[in-house]
């Protein structure tokens, strides 16, 4: 399989600061790759290099087998976090403008947008605006889609519909690179790449990344009391429904911290989010305090 986008030992420094170090990443045709990382992990810098907006300090970026250029840009569909739409144009006008730039034509408005065809984009619900941005990014039938937080602020059904659009593009052969802050979206990606402190710290499917890791789950009669006791013991505690989760501790330690409090303590499989924190913390201990 020849990669549509490929980073090989890519490094980017800004003065003394290294934003991206020795990153390897490939996106192949038909693949949806999720890029996860905290703020400052280097995701945005990496995407800017892939778009050809920023040069590398070391290593090599290739798009469709060549260095990023104006020509490669025309084969990419990009949806930035802020969507990049003109608020004071209608959906149809926005789409025609994008088509004129890329020399495409005849794109139909997606069905959920049709009732709003004559209204200004700025006045539309966020989910509809995102559909317009997707249609615009797809109007020139790009080989590679890059989506930055594509569903932020959209409700569950709207989000499912946006993922349908992304999945359809991948099934038609496009490669997709998508950044997200939400682990429930990560399950829509065939493969995940987790960045922390400028490096790739894990790659693979969600199941591969989580592996057999476990955390301690606590079901206490009174979770607030248990929360207080675990906090007091200096453990890291998270609320989950009416239960608590204590990553990075062993059951005996948790049992001790709880003292006489009535509670069921047991090991449970870690979530992708918990594994993500562990990786982020290992990469830069103070960032994940």
């Amino acid at each position: 399989m020849s990669a549509l986008a490929s980073c090989s030992k890519v490094t980017r420094r800004f003065g003394q600061f290294t934003a991206v170090r020795e990153v390897d990443l490939q996106v192949g045709p038909g693949e949806i790759v999720g890029l996860l990382g905290a703020n400052g992990a280097g995701k945005t810098t990496l995407i800017r290099m892939l778009l050809g907006l920023l040069g590398t300090t070391g290593g090599e970026v290739t798009l469709f087998g060549e260095p990023p250029s104006r020509l490669t840009r025309s084969r990419i569909g990009y949806v930035p976090q802020r969507l990049g739409l003109y608020d004071d144009l209608t959906p149809t006008e926005n789409l025609e403008f994008a088509e004129a730039i890329f020399g495409a034509g005849g794109t139909a408005l997606p069905e959920p947008v049709r009732p709003y065809a004559r209204e200004l984009v700025g006045s539309l619900p966020l989910g509809v605006q995102r559909q317009v941005a997707f249609a615009q990014a797809l109007s020139h039938q790009p080989d590679l889609l890059m989506l930055d937080e594509p569903t932020s602020g959209v409700g569950p059904l709207g989000r499912a519909r946006l993922w349908e659009t992304i999945g359809d593009a991948a099934e038609a052969g496009a490669g997709v690179l998508v950044t997200t802050h939400y682990m429930e979206e990560a399950q829509e990606c065939g493969r995940l790449v987790i960045m922390a402190d400028g490096r790739v710290v894990a790659a693979g499917t969600a199941a591969e990344i989580v592996g057999s890791r476990q955390v301690v789950g606590v079901e206490a009669e009174s979770w607030p009391t248990a929360f207080g006791a675990l906090e007091q013991a200096g453990l890291q505690v998270a609320l989950a429904g009416r239960g608590l989760r204590v990553p990075g501790a062993d059951p005996a330690q948790v049992r001790r911290a709880l003292g006489d409090l009535p509670a069921v303590v047991r090991q449970v499989p870690a979530t992708l989010e918990e594994r993500f924190f562990e990786l982020t913390k290992q990469a830069s201990p103070e960032a994940a305090a």
Partner: protein, 298 residues
């Protein structure tokens, strides 16, 4: 203001007889647009209650009623007096040209909290939520996630009885989000009632109870387990998008297609290449939204 008919009960919390905050059968319209249609939501002390739904579902309107910045057209709102509640609007209410510490001082002193107490609480909250190194930075220079954490701390520093948070985590990166959730859990553990809006169901799953809003109407409510158990009809997974009218009742999830059948008998009668799926909260909420969409259901 022409609103009338809504009853707002403002009460103080006392140890012996804890009032339960919340709304009962609340209706709000903006002109011809119905923003809330007969919505009921209890918001108990010491618990985190989630309101989920898309853009325009009515989440902000409901939270504005609970925060006391909007009176409903009809129905009842039970809330503490303003000085005993904390409210984080969708746009965060932080002064960009004050430092983190100055913002907290200003807000807490407005609630009559002494400087000494502000300092002590702020130091702990800032430290545990990962903002300790930012206390002298101007709020306007913080990242979005850091600013949200600051706004939540500002809303809880006076130890209110009720905290109302409008999408505190939208667009916030996972590390800041975990700091926010620590603050939320801490406030609930201290006995505060918390209600928050979110578009993400993995967050709703962490709450004691959930209200699903769509177009101003309550589609489902209760614990996540109860909402899942109450999902009408049946759910199957297919390897590819179904053809015909079933397409409107289907959505992509984790590389496969979910198809919802309003008829529970669909459990026995699905296509050969399909598999019956035990729904989770994400499935149940998507089904609730489909069932409420004209043409989305049978």
């Amino acid at each position: 203001m022409t609103r009338h008919g809504g009853i707002v009960t403002v009460a103080r919390q006392d140890g012996a007889d804890q009032p339960s905050w919340g709304v009962d059968e609340v209706c709000v319209s903006y002109g011809k647009t119905v923003a809330l249609d007969n919505v009921t939501l209890p918001v108990p002390a010491g618990q985190v209650t989630a309101v989920v739904g898309g853009d325009g579902a009515g989440k902000s309107t409901l939270l504005r009623c609970l925060a006391g910045v909007l009176a409903p057209d009809s129905g009842t709102v039970r809330r503490p007096p303003k000085e005993r509640s904390g409210y984080l609007p969708a746009t965060s209410g932080i002064y960009p040209d004050l430092t983190v510490t100055e913002n907290l001082d200003f807000r807490a002193r407005g609630y009559g909290v002494s400087r000494q107490v502000v300092r002590e609480r702020a130091a702990e909250y800032l430290d545990r939520s990962g903002l300790a190194n930012a206390s002298d930075r101007l709020a306007g220079q913080l990242s979005g996630g850091m600013r949200q954490k600051l706004a939540v701390i500002a809303a809880m520093l006076h130890h209110p009885d009720l905290i109302v948070l409008d999408e505190p985590t939208t667009g916030v990166d996972p590390v800041s989000r975990s700091g926010l959730w620590w603050l939320i859990a801490r406030a609930a553990a201290e006995g505060c009632a918390i209600v928050l809006a979110t578009t993400y169901l993995d967050e709703a799953e962490r709450c004691s109870s959930v209200l699903v809003l769509e177009g101003g109407a309550a589609l489902a409510s209760g614990t996540a387990e109860k909402i899942v158990a109450a999902m009408p009809g049946s759910l199957r997974a297919l390897p590819a998008r179904p053809e015909g009218e079933a397409a409107a009742r289907s959505w992509r999830r984790a590389g496969r297609w979910r198809v919802w059948d309003p008829d529970p008998a669909g459990l026995d009668t699905g296509p050969a290449d399909s598999e019956v799926i035990a729904p989770d909260l994400q499935d149940a909420v998507t089904v609730a939204a489909l069932a409420a969409t004209p043409g989305g259901a049978a």
